[in-house]
Amino acid sequence: MFNYNVKLALKSMRRNPIMTALMVAAIAVGIGISITTLTVYYMMNGNPIPEKSDVLFAVTMDSWNPLRPFDQDNPERAPHQVTYHDAERLIAIAAGKRQAAMFESSLIIEPVNQDDLPFEAGARVTTGDFFSMFNVPFIYGSGWDRSADAGAEPVVVLSKQLNERLFGGEDSVGKRLIMQNTQFQVIGVIDTWEPTPRFYDPINGAFQEINEMFIPYSLTRSLELISAGSDWGWKSEEITSFEQWLNSESAWIQYMVELESPRDRDAYLAHIDAYVSEQKRLGRFERPLNNYVYDVMEWMEYHEVVANDSKVLVGLSFLFLMVCLLSTIALLLTKFVGKQGETSLRRALGASRKIIFKQQIVEVAVIGFSGGLVGLLLAGLGLQGIQYLYDSPDGLVTLDWVMMLTAIGIAITSSMIAGLYPAWRVCKIPPAAQLKTQ
């Protein structure tokens, strides 16, 4: 019976192709737009590291100006980066299970052969725990350990793309690079890793491309590495040397920690508070105690990673879907009114109300399904458009299976809801009522 209904549905759809095309188009456009905006929102709002997001924390300490808060609009907030001095101390204390002190920088890679030009590559300067903390996948080699951190060894981990550019993609572990007048040794190459959003550094762009290479944090002093990211300072200090810069109150280091379990959060915060209290005695941290740790999802929310515009678009596109549904109901009503003759004939020949109703719903579902398919195509186009317009990373604009099924689901469900009233109207037609001409 279902197959028969589907066949009837297709026949009926063919009979008035313009009407059918209009209905399918209405649903398709509604689905296309909604799914496009929903995908972007969903990806922005997603948990980039679900297996660990509740045990990874960003640390903030309020070392800011005693006279005014760091964020005038949100005065309870502390600066979201820490000073170099504080990072060094925290690393030494090593209160959590693992820790990552890091910042963005860039180095010039000097050419291997004389004919090549030197070029600049972006680097993430970080402590070695970074790789195990954030589950970074390797294709060759591995990261460095804490002893390499302590010894400030000139090692480097390359991204897949950088490895392609420098060494043609082969296993480059053991090979050497000259950067900043220093010979670095490659100890690992990571696989494509594009957490969306980039939870470990939302400050410099939650949807940037990944860093091209990773080098040990402890090289900062010896190589006089400069941050290419943001830095904030409130105190007017005399800075005439790199050493003075490192000791200043400028906050430019990002510090994240991994704990054993989410429950350890308060205990860890107590460690931080203890450290700050100790620093207060030395004359720093003149503001009242205001330290906080944020887990990954809280950190995303803190930085408002989901763009406001994205939320606006999701809202508008659901209104849009409503319009499409209204269109569909109106079109279905008119289409079904035109079917009165056939329907009363069928009723005269023995079809019950329920059968007629079911047939209409199947027809509506078929239209909905078609609309959903076309809508998915449109959504794909829409996402391509978004990627072009915003230069987004691939992860943000991919239609995964969940989204595709959701799209079809919404299409069929909403068109069936739209079709309820018209179907009910049709099955009310008495048998043979329209057979007499009037």
């Binding site: 737009i33 007017s236 209104l319 209204l326 008119t334």
Partner: protein, 402 residues
């Protein structure tokens, strides 16, 4: 065909008209609010930056190696660039306006730490800086050559004697008073005197509400990465970009030319989100309006077909063609007006929701009548063809037996 019988006829067959009216209402709400956002963004992008954006090229360079002499590298580079035909002038700057990257400071008019500082972007360039950006001084003077010295990264130079500020910053600092010649204090409480005022110049962050605030210190910034701002003759920009890149690259192999970009491209990147939103919403508006128009056409056509007998009868009873057209247009007008009335309510509701949930600006009420007018015109256009078709139904239809 009278108004009242038409109304009662519509009321007796309510569902179709109500659906169309609802659709018109929701469409109006979406279109008006989206159009408002689009126009806001377009206005934002088209603001006058005070800079000759189309004719400016920005080059990022970086030297490496222990013995790299930044100062002479910079001097050589600038001389080289200036010698290229078609280049008007070149300057070294610490940051690039409109690029999204910049430095900021707080300035005060009194050396008192407790007083709130006025936030501003801070630039540092030499005598050619203004010319390199095509920025005009409205009052006072530019820097003198003697005031411009090299500033190295690890140094901490004292506050300069002379600075330039934008009019917007002057307004923030001194209100209606004339800022020229006045003194301002840096975070270190050191003073500087304002020797020149720039009419309009946008800073680095286009999304910042203080985009117009900039202060310029005299100096040649000698960083690890250096930024050259180059102004060229109109029309020469695209030709000169690869030439500059090549000549710079070849002149010094210990100095990497990281990138050569047009300021237009950098600015476009900064405005990418706004432009993207404007385009997306424009597409949404077009699709929505198109869909609603098509539905009106489709439904009206259907009604014409459905009522063929009735139309023939009316013609037989004496209706002229124009009467039939008038009837359909009037019916459509009734539905559209009902939709517009409901739509106004919905529009205001959606605008309120946008304002409170997403922090958008309050809707400019003038968009409402504009939106209704557009809707009305579109709706009439949509129904015109079906109405015309209705009018051509021959009166002889009335006597047909089927």
């Amino acid at each position: 065909m009278g108004f009242r019988p038409m109304l009662s006829s519509l009321m007796r067959n309510k569902t179709g008209p109500i659906l169309v009216a609802l659709q018109i209402a929701v469409t109006l709400a979406i279109v008006i609010n989206s159009l408002f956002i689009v126009i806001q963004r377009v206005e934002k992008i088209n603001r006058d930056s005070g800079i000759d954006v189309n004719n400016v090229i920005v080059t990022y360079v970086r030297g490496f190696g222990d013995d790299f002499d930044v100062a002479s590298s910079i001097t050589n580079d600038i001389d080289l660039i200036r010698s290229i035909p078609g280049v008007v002038t070149a300057a070294v700057s610490n940051q690039v306006p409109l690029s999204g990257s910049g430095s900021g400071n707080g300035l005060r008019i009194v050396p008192d730490e407790t007083v709130e500082a006025v936030s501003t972007a801070r630039y540092r360039w030499g005598v050619e800086g203004l010319d390199a950006l095509g920025v005009e001084l409205s009052r006072g003077r530019n820097f003198f050559a003697e005031e411009v010295n090299f500033v190295f990264p690890a140094s901490d130079p004292p506050a300069p004697a002379s600075i330039l500020i934008t009019q917007a910053l002057a307004d923030d600092l001194f209100g209606d008073e004339d800022a020229l010649g006045k003194t301002v204090y840096w975070g270190s409480m050191e003073p500087s005197t304002i020797v020149g005022i720039i009419g309009v110049m946008h800073g680095s962050w286009v999304g910042w509400d203080k985009l117009g605030n900039s202060v310029i210190q005299p100096g040649t910034q000698a960083d690890t990465t250096n930024k050259y701002i180059i102004r060229v003759e109109p029309g020469m920009r695209d030709k000169l970009m690869p030439i500059i890149e090549q000549e710079l690259g070849e002149s010094n192999r210990r100095r990497v030319v990281k990138s050569v970009k047009s300021l237009e491209e950098l600015a476009a990147r900064s405005y990418r989100r706004d432009r993207g939103m404007a385009i997306i919403l424009s597409v949404v508006i077009t699709l929505l309006v198109g869909l609603t128009a098509l539905v009106i056409v489709g439904l009206s056509s259907f009604h014409v077909t459905q009522r063929t007998k009735q139309i023939g009868t009316r013609r037989a009873l004496g209706a002229k063609r124009i009467d039939i057209i008038r009837q359909f247009m009037l019916e459509n007008w009734l539905i559209t007006t009902a939709g517009a009335v409901l739509g106004v309510v919905l529009t205001v509701a959606v605008a309120y929701w946008m304002e409170t949930s997403f922090g958008l600006e309050r809707l400019d009420w003038r968009f409402l009548p504009a939106g209704i007018a557009i809707l009305w015109v579109l709706s009439s256009l949509a129904v015109f063809e079906p109405a015309r078709r209705a009018a051509s139904v021959p009166p002889a239809v009335a006597t047909r037996s089927v």
